[in-house]
């Protein structure tokens, strides 16, 4: 449950009154380790059994507030760092946003989704009121027609394929498979760049993405790489 929801806030209030601030609470050992992400260990990946894209380059989060259509569109169109809409980052590349230096990290997810909450916690970064930039490259064996990018995100997100904005979903929402689906696209033979900005208000944050073929079946038979084609 998310603190951004008034009903949940109501439920949490009684406990909040009686507890010290979160930063003063003693640590609680993990019941189940949050290990959904790992550094890539292979030159490339393929989509998983359901066609989801498991390998992404993710930038440490940038502060952002608001989830409505207009606010998110403004947030994702703002230039935070040079070549924001064209850069193919390498693992460990750094950018400066405001007075903070942020790092790109290559990540493989073990699940259908990419858990950005885990990502941020792994690097000691905030998870609320933040914007994540993510990039990946899909390598097609031939030109592909009438395919659709299909994504889900917690919360709002905007997506580009080869520089063209193709999906925007807004509001305080959870990740649902194929929540947002692009119009029919043509993917060129070879490398195609997928870029997205995911904006979270509070609580859990993650996304999933795959391509659907002209029959709305998961697209497979291609590889996924990052900046230098080696997976790193």
């Amino acid at each position: 449950m998310k603190l951004t929801t008034p009903a949940v806030l109501f439920c949490a209030l009684t406990a909040a009154y009686a507890q010290p601030p979160a930063s003063n609470l003693p640590p609680i050992p993990a019941q189940v380790p949050a290990t959904t992400l790992a550094a890539p260990a292979t030159p490339s990946k393929t989509p998983d059994a359901e066609g989801f894209i498991p390998r992404w380059m993710i930038l440490e989060p940038i502060p952002a507030n608001g989830l409505t259509d207009a606010i998110v569109q403004t947030a994702v169109k703002k230039e935070y760092f040079p070549n924001q809409f064209t850069v193919i980052p390498k693992n460990g590349d750094k950018v400066t946003v405001g007075d903070k230096e942020l790092t790109w990290h290559a990540e493989d997810t073990k699940l259908y989704n990419v858990n950005l909450y885990h990502f941020a916690k792994n690097y000691g970064k905030p998870t609320s009121d933040v914007l994540f930039w993510v990039v990946t490259i899909v390598n097609m064996p031939q030109e592909m027609h009438n395919v659709r990018l299909a994504i889900g995100s917690n919360a709002a997100s905007v997506w580009w394929v080869n520089g063209e904005e193709v999906i925007g979903i807004y509001g305080d929402r959870q990740t649902v498979i194929d929540d947002g689906v692009s119009k029919r696209l043509t993917l060129k033979k070879g490398a195609n760049i997928i870029r997205a900005a995911i904006v979270n208000a509070g609580g859990a944050t993650d996304f999933c993405a795959r391509f659907l073929d002209e029959n709305d079946k998961p697209l497979k038979g291609y590889t996924i790489t990052l900046s230098n084609g080696s997976g790193k």
Partner: protein, 518 residues
């Protein structure tokens, strides 16, 4: 009761009445229409007294060419390259009667193949036996290719005989007809999913708005019966489950005829004894045929109104892709403002940060009686429906995309369906325009088989929509044109938040819509 005598007497008067375009368009006056036959893309039906109707689209009808053999309540079936028409006539007064067959390769009088041939008598009643051999209904069994004829009208039984599908004639001329039902007329057979259905008209005809006509049915695992209704009553003992009776401005439905449009879309033709909007005239109608638990149900043609379009697949609603405003305006926690918030607020399902902070602004949560204030207290006054003129002020003036979203009663989620002037139609209904309620913003297909909302309706084919009920009661929505698309496309939910056009798949729920009153 001698219903057919009443039929004959009433025919001249019925045809003299003026028509008013309410249901089907054009000239639709007819009594006892045959099953609708399709020939070279045109629709044909034949009624009692030599009356015939023809239509290019199934929506707008005009007078057709009279059959060479006039009579009572014809039926028609297309087998191979021939159309077989069965026409009954009393021979010396009821119940002495004969059913004659005539056939042709084309129903189009302009065609060189429009050449009728007499096929002779296929069934009869001698005036003493328990039958009145009129009101024929024919079926070709899709399972084994056998052909069957039912006939009869109140006096005695509805009877069944087998025909030869190669000739349309009686297969064994002297075989004994089987009795299937009593106390009805206008029988017809159809097969669906392992069952044979006998549909027949009960009640009295030919009394205008005082006609008790109603279509009822029974079903059987064998074409030869017994045909039982939903209560297990045999139609030969008077049973019959209701399919359709008087409704709205229409009185006395009769003479069922199946119209199968393919892709699982079925409709049925009928006549109303009295269309009150046409002065009580007897008129043709076409309605969707739905199915539930193995029984057919009469569906509804689309009516003009304002609706929510809910995807049967996703449960989300089609909306103009603009930023929504909550009904009643945005409210912050505790009733105070907190700036814009997103629609569809809900809980997350991932890790939850520890709760921090003090009580919400505006005092403690109020879940008690209304009076305003607090998280749950409301405003203390009724919230009016959203005013589209107000909330649309910031909507883009030009084209706007379409998407799907959780239905929140907002203005961009409500659509008005109205017949498109001069837009033509399809069997049973006209093409419609679909606009954002309270605006002229019009849903349109694009040349690349996607969707867009245009600033205004112009009547172009890509702005015209065929909206018809599917067998499960959901709706299929098809544009009249979608650019260069070679096959009909239907409005299709793809993912939870997206909508497109794609080829209709009867086995999928992607193109099934619940069109709901908001």
């Amino acid at each position: 009761m001698n219903a057919t005598l009443l039929k004959i007497a009433a025919v001249p008067a019925l045809f003299a009445l003026a028509t008013i375009s309410v249901a089907l368009d054009g000239t639709v006056n007819i009594h006892d229409p045959s099953t609708i036959a399709v020939c070279n893309g045109k629709f044909y039906t034949y009624g009692t007294g030599g009356n015939a109707l023809v239509s290019d689209d199934g929506w707008t009808w005009k007078r057709g060419t009279t059959l060479p053999r006039r009579g009572l309540a014809p039926d028609v079936i297309h087998i191979g390259d021939r159309y077989y028409v069965y026409v009954a006539a009393n021979v010396g007064g009821q119940p002495r009667a004969e059913v004659n067959m005539i056939s042709t390769k084309s129903l189009d009088p302009e065609s060189p193949d429009y050449k009728w041939e007499e096929g002779g008598v296929v069934a009869s009643s001698n005036g003493v036996e328990d039958a009145n051999a009129i009101d024929p209904g024919v079926m070709l069994d899709p399972n084994d290719g056998r052909m069957w004829l039912v006939y009869g009208s109140y006096f005695g039984y509805i009877r069944l005989v087998e025909l030869d599908p190669k000739t349309g004639k009686r297969k064994v001329p002297n075989d004994t007809p089987r009795n299937l039902a009593i106390n009805c007329e206008a029988g017809d057979l159809m097969y669906h999913d392992g069952w044979y259905y006998l549909l027949a008209t009960h009640g009295s005809c030919c009394r205008g708005a005082d006609s008790g006509y109603q279509i009822r049915l029974g079903r059987s695992k064998k074409v030869t019966g017994p045909y039982l209704d939903h209560d297990g009553v045999d139609m030969i003992e008077g049973g019959g489950k209701l399919l359709i009776s008087s409704t709205g401005r229409y009185v006395g439905p009769g003479h069922f005829g199946l119209l199968d449009l393919g892709d699982g879309v079925q409709k049925f033709s009928l006549h109303w004894e009295a269309d009150l909007d046409r002065g009580g005239a007897s008129v043709l109608d076409i309605r969707p045929l739905l199915w539930k638990d193995g029984w057919p149900i009469a569906g509804e043609n689309m009516k003009e109104g304002t609706y929510e379009f809910e995807s049967a697949r996703t449960g989300t609603a089609m909306e103009l892709a603009v930023e929504g405003m909550p009904v009643g305006g945005r409210r912050g926690r505790g009733g105070g403002g907190r700036g814009p918030g997103g629609p569809g607020a809900g809980g997350g399902r991932g890790p939850t940060p520890p709760a921090v902070g003090g009580p919400p602004a505006g005092g403690p949560p109020a879940g008690g009686p209304p009076g305003g204030g607090g998280i749950f207290g409301g405003t203390g006054a009724p919230i009016p429906p959203q005013d589209v003129a107000q909330v649309s002020a910031n909507w883009p003036k030009d084209k706007v995309p379409v998407r799907m979203g959780v239905y929140l009663l907002q203005a961009q989620q409500k659509w008005t369906i109205a017949p498109a002037p001069n837009g033509g139609g399809y069997p049973g209904a006209p093409y419609f325009k679909i606009t954002v309620a309270g605006t002229d913003r019009t849903l349109a297909a694009t040349s690349d088989a996607e969707l867009i909302v245009l600033p205004a309706f112009t009547g172009a084919p890509e702005q015209l929509w065929r909206i018809e009920q599917l067998p499960d009661g959901t709706w299929r929505i098809v544009p009249k044109s979608a650019g260069s698309a070679k096959e009909p496309l239907a409005l299709s939910a793809v993912g939870s938040s997206s909508v497109t056009l794609s080829k209709f798949d009867a086995k999928s729920d992607r193109q099934r819509w619940n069109i709901k009153t908001p």
